[in-house]
Every structure is written in structure tokens, then in C-alpha cells.
């Protein structure tokens, strides 16, 4: 397990350009989108409002794509050499999950540090944010790995971006508050079933001290989601050819 994780970590270090790219895109959302839309919204500082949401967006995208990336590993037989080793599938799976979380967490930390200039959160808030980011990342890396182990080709890759990531993101309350009376009921209900909603809410609590749900609800929801994904992921990893 440690071996698998170390491999992922090294790969990550080598592709440091990926980190830069992955940090730049959320920053653009924050600055360009945030300033633009913020001008016409009345939620205090819109930029600091969406900041936790943007971090979770980067967590969601990098975790998911990390997981789905094993399709590529399988294509070029690298994974085959790992799978043939006398190591249980479960520990390979956990190694992969940890690797993905490390990736995601490092990106998120860079964003969090930049965020100090925007949102003034306490050290405790910072720590709390890191914890909830980690739990969220576990869930989405596991989900990505699950999907990746089911698909044999890259055709699925684009679909995931369109049909999973974006709906999750838009329905999570990352960009707009979910507790305003004008929102249609269907959107509200959909967002309640979205694990990312609780992740965003939890991160918002950690950084801004405000949230729609109590923090323990957020933690419980994200925790249950991630645990379920871990179970699901290890089952599908075991079945993977």
C-alpha cells in the first residue's frame, strides 16, 4: 500500500506543471467569475462566499479525474504488473486512494494559503478545512476509481466531466446560497442529495464561520458518502479484470 502511494507521490512531484494548472483554474473562477458576478449579488463579499466552494470544486475535479485515470494505467499495462504482485487488491486500492488524496490535498493547501489574503480564517478553521477536504477527497477518488475500474476505454472520460462533475458542482451551493426563498424546490431537493453540498457547507463553516447546516451534519454526510465509496470502490476494484 505504501509502495503504491509512494509511486503516486513521485508521479505527482514529476508533473508539477499539473499542480500549477490545477491551481490556476480555480483562481480564475475566484477572481474573474467572482468579481464579475459578485458585482451583481448581495451576499456580502461574494468572492469570500464562493471561496470554499471553489476549493471544493478543485477537490472534486482533481479527485475524480485522478481516479478515472486508472483507465490509462490499465491500457498501458502498468497496473497489470502491480496487480500480479502478491498483494491484496484492497491494499492496492487504498494506496491509490491515498495517492489521489495527497495530490488533491496539496493542491487545496496551495489554494488555502492563497486564500488567506481573501478570507481571514483562524488556524483552527484552516485545520478543520483540511480535514473536511481530506474526507471529501477520499470519497471522490474512490468514486473515480470505481468508475475507472468499470470503463475499459476513454470514451467514458468526457461523459464523467459532463454528467457527474458539473451537476455535482452546480448543485452544491458552491456558487450561490441554497437558503434563499427564490430557489425552486427541485433544485433544493437535488442539492440535499449531493454529498458535495455538505462538503462545501462544512468548508464554509471552517473558513467563514457560517453554514446552512450544523457542522456535525456536514461531517456525518461527507463521512457516510466517503465510507460508502470506499466500500463500493474496493468491491469493484476486486472485480476488475
Amino acid at each position: 500500500m505504501i509502495a503504491v502511494w509512494r509511486r503516486e507521490f513521485k508521479v505527482f512531484q514529476r508533473e508539477i506543471s499539473r499542480v500549477v494548472a490545477s491551481v490556476v483554474s480555480p483562481l480564475m473562477w475566484l477572481v474573474l467569475f467572482g468579481v464579475g458576478v459578485g458585482a451583481s449579488m448581495n451576499v456580502g463579499s461574494y468572492q469570500s462566499f464562493i471561496f470554499p466552494g471553489i476549493i471544493m470544486m478543485s477537490v472534486l475535479f482533481s479527485s475524480m479525474f485522478y481516479g478515472v485515470y486508472i483507465i490509462w494505467d490499465r491500457k498501458i499495462d502498468v497496473l497489470k504488473a502491480v496487480l500480479i504482485a502478491p498483494v491484496s487488491r484492497f491494499s492496492i486500492f487504498l494506496g491509490k486512494v491515498l495517492g489521489g488524496c495527497t495530490d488533491t490535498l496539496m493542491q487545496a493547501t496551495v489554494l488555502l494559503v492563497i486564500g488567506i489574503f481573501l478570507v481571514s480564517y483562524t488556524p483552527l478553521g484552516f485545520l478543520l478545512a483540511v480535514v473536511i477536504i481530506f474526507i471529501t477527497a477520499v470519497g471522490f477518488v474512490a468514486l473515480g476509481l470505481t468508475i475507472g475500474s468499470l470503463f475499459e476505454s476513454f470514451e467514458g472520460f468526457q461523459l464523467i466531466g459532463t454528467f457527474i462533475n458539473f451537476p455535482l458542482f452546480f448543485l452544491s451551493g458552491a456558487l450561490f446560497p441554497l437558503d434563499r426563498p427564490g430557489l425552486p424546490g427541485w433544485l433544493l431537493i437535488a442539492s440535499r442529495f449531493n454529498p458535495l453540498t455538505y462538503a462545501v457547507d462544512g468548508a464554509r463553516y471552517a473558513m467563514l464561520g457560517e453554514s446552512a447546516f450544523p457542522i456535525y451534519v456536514d461531517f456525518a454526510a461527507v463521512g457516510i458518502f466517503s465510507f460508502t465509496m470506499l466500500v463500493l470502490g474496493s468491491i469493484s476494484f476486486n472485480r476488475m479484470k
Partner: protein, 324 residues
């Protein structure tokens, strides 16, 4: 000698297609065993079953005394595998690749470094050990994979088409390393190939497989002997055909345009005598039959005719059946 691989009526079918048909095979400990046959003959599928990647439809097999059906974990710890396609991590260095693999196979940290250094030296990759594998040539990647398979001192090392896609020079180098490895590490090696030179050059034992069945098995020399003797080409001023025909080791003789083509039993032994019978020899050439002549004799086809043609089947099988 004890056999380290043993199969009994090992069979694998995919729908209507029988990839491996009730294969009975025994491989003795310590030898380089070659599985020779055209693409799609069932070589990769057999290796897949022996390495517990593919589950047999019926029949049994044991590797290093363990059953492929009941004890896959024990087999996996005692074998090394080099796949047909490259499976080294190109974004890691050679050393890192070996290090990761050593960890996966549970080699203790204390021994890891020495073992890796020793193996890198064996395939002369020490100098490039810390460059990214991305920058390696095909031959270098293969060498790295060969020693990666050996890290945990496996009882058997499986090589699936170890020189496929390599240029002739790298191929010869790989042969050299495989032979050295077998000798140094005392590992049994089972390899598949559709290059008869490869089988002839390296293997102590060869099984010729076609359509999922073993056609013939033996040492390369034995197999070649079954086809018949050697062929001697002679060019001389004159021949006493009758005299030559009366030699008991001469099987057949044809004279055309002043050249004689003589089929001879055991040319290496009988050539001097043959040459004494023919005065004023200008030129002499001896050709021994090769394994491809053996394949031709038993299947009525040449290996070359087949290779490339049915390769889609090997591919299809690899993709649909990689594991459990």
C-alpha cells in the same frame, strides 16, 4: 529431475473458440523452456493460466508445487512475469521502478538496495538507473523488466514474447541476458516466442504449440533430428555418384549444373569422409534444418505464414481475460 510446472488436460475456451486444448505439459526445474508457436496458438493464454491471471475452463496445473486454482497467492509470490507489452512505469526512474516492485513483493528494506544494485549491474543498466524510464530504448525497458521479474528470486520466471518488437541487435542482447540470468539466479524460465531462432538459441526444451495443442516437445536438437539429417552442398569438377550413394550415411543425392545437393545423416560427423570421396572440391556448404523446418514438417505451414495473420486473436484474448 523434478518438474516445477505441470499441467493436466489444461483447457481454456472462449465461447466457441478453444484457445488451449487439454494441454499436458511438464517443465523440469532449472531449464529454459520455450513455448514456440504462431500468434494465436494459445501461448499467451497458457502463460495467463499458469500465472493465475486467467482461470482455466477445465483441467489443472501446478507451479512450484502450488495449484493455480486453489493457491493463486502462493504462486504469485513464487513467480516473476514479463508481459508482452511494456509495463514499466515511464514516469519513474529505473531504480524507482525496481524499488516499488521490491516493496510490492515484500522485500525487506535492508536487502532491497543491494539486490537492486546487483540486478541493475547484471543487465548493465547501472549508469542509467536514475534516468526516467521514458528516456530508455525498447531494449533497455525490456532489460529493466527482466530484472524486475527476478527481484524476489522467483522459482519460475515467465517471459511472454520477450523480444517482440525489438530490433535484431537488442534481441541478441536480450538473449544473452536471459541466459546469464538463468545461470546466475538458477531460475527456471518459461518463455513464449514465435521466433524459432530465439527458441533454438536459448531454450533447453521446446514445445511446439499450434491451435492450442502441443505438437512436439524436446530439446531443439531432438526436434530438429526428427526432421532428418543435414544438407550438404558441394561444388566439384566431377562426382562419382554411385560411390557416394553407397555411403550408408547418404540419404539422397541430386546433381545439377555441377553442384551436388546431398542429404546426409549427422553431417558434423560424416562430412570429412564425404569430402574424401569427392576430389577437387571447390566449395562446400552445410546447412542444418532449423526449428522452422520442424514446424513445417508437423503442421504443413511455416511459422512466418501464420505470424501476423491471426494476431487479432491473441490481442482479443488478452483484453477480455486479463484477470479475476
Amino acid at each position: 529431475m523434478a518438474s516445477i510446472i505441470k499441467t493436466e488436460k489444461l483447457k481454456k475456451t472462449y465461447g466457441q473458440i478453444t484457445a488451449v486444448d487439454e494441454l499436458d505439459l511438464e517443465v523440469e526445474k532449472g531449464m529454459i523452456f520455450g513455448f514456440l508457436g504462431p500468434n494465436g496458438a494459445g501461448k499467451t493464454t497458457t502463460i495467463g493460466m499458469l500465472t493465475t491471471i486467467i482461470r482455466p475452463t477445465s483441467g489443472t496445473a501446478t507451479v512450484n508445487g502450488y495449484s493455480v486454482i486453489n493457491e493463486p497467492g502462493k504462486i504469485r509470490s513464487s513467480i516473476g512475469i514479463v508481459f508482452q507489452d511494456f509495463s514499466v512505469d515511464t514516469i519513474l526512474t529505473g531504480r524507482e521502478n525496481l524499488d516499488m516492485s521490491a516493496q510490492l513483493y515484500g522485500i525487506q528494506k535492508a536487502q532491497r538496495k543491494d539486490r537492486i544494485d546487483e540486478l541493475l549491474a547484471l543487465v548493465e543498466l547501472t549508469k542509467r538507473a536514475d534516468s526516467l524510464v521514458r528516456t530508455y530504448s525498447g531494449g533497455m525497458k525490456r532489460r529493466l523488466e527482466l530484472v524486475r521479474g527476478l527481484l524476489h528470486r522467483p522459482a519460475v520466471l515467465f517471459l511472454d514474447e520477450p523480444t517482440l518488437g525489438l530490433d535484431p541487435r537488442s534481441r541478441v542482447t536480450i538473449w544473452k541476458y536471459i541466459k546469464e540470468m538463468a545461470e546466475r539466479e538458477k531460475t527456471t524460465i518459461m518463455l513464449t516466442t514465435h521466433y524459432m531462432e530465439e527458441a533454438e538459441e536459448m531454450c533447453d526444451q521446446v514445445a511446439i504449440i499450434d491451435n492450442g495443442k502441443i505438437i512436439k516437445q524436446g530439446t531443439p536438437e531432438e526436434l530438429i533430428d526428427t526432421v532428418g539429417g543435414d544438407i550438404v552442398y558441394l561444388k566439384a569438377k566431377r562426382y562419382d555418384e554411385k560411390l557416394l550413394r553407397n555411403l550408408d550415411f547418404v540419404k539422397d543425392i541430386q546433381i545439377k549444373d555441377g553442384c551436388a545437393t546431398i542429404k546426409v545423416e549427422n553431417a558434423s560427423l560424416n562430412l570429412p569422409e564425404l569430402m574424401r570421396m569427392v576430389p577437387d572440391i571447390e566449395k562446400v556448404e552445410v546447412r542444418s534444418p532449423t526449428l522452422s523446418d520442424v514446424f513445417l514438417a508437423y503442421t504443413g505451414r511455416t511459422l512466418k505464414e501464420d505470424s501476423g495473420q491471426s494476431s487479432w486473436m491473441d490481442d482479443a484474448m488478452r483484453y477480455t481475460t486479463q484477470g479475476r
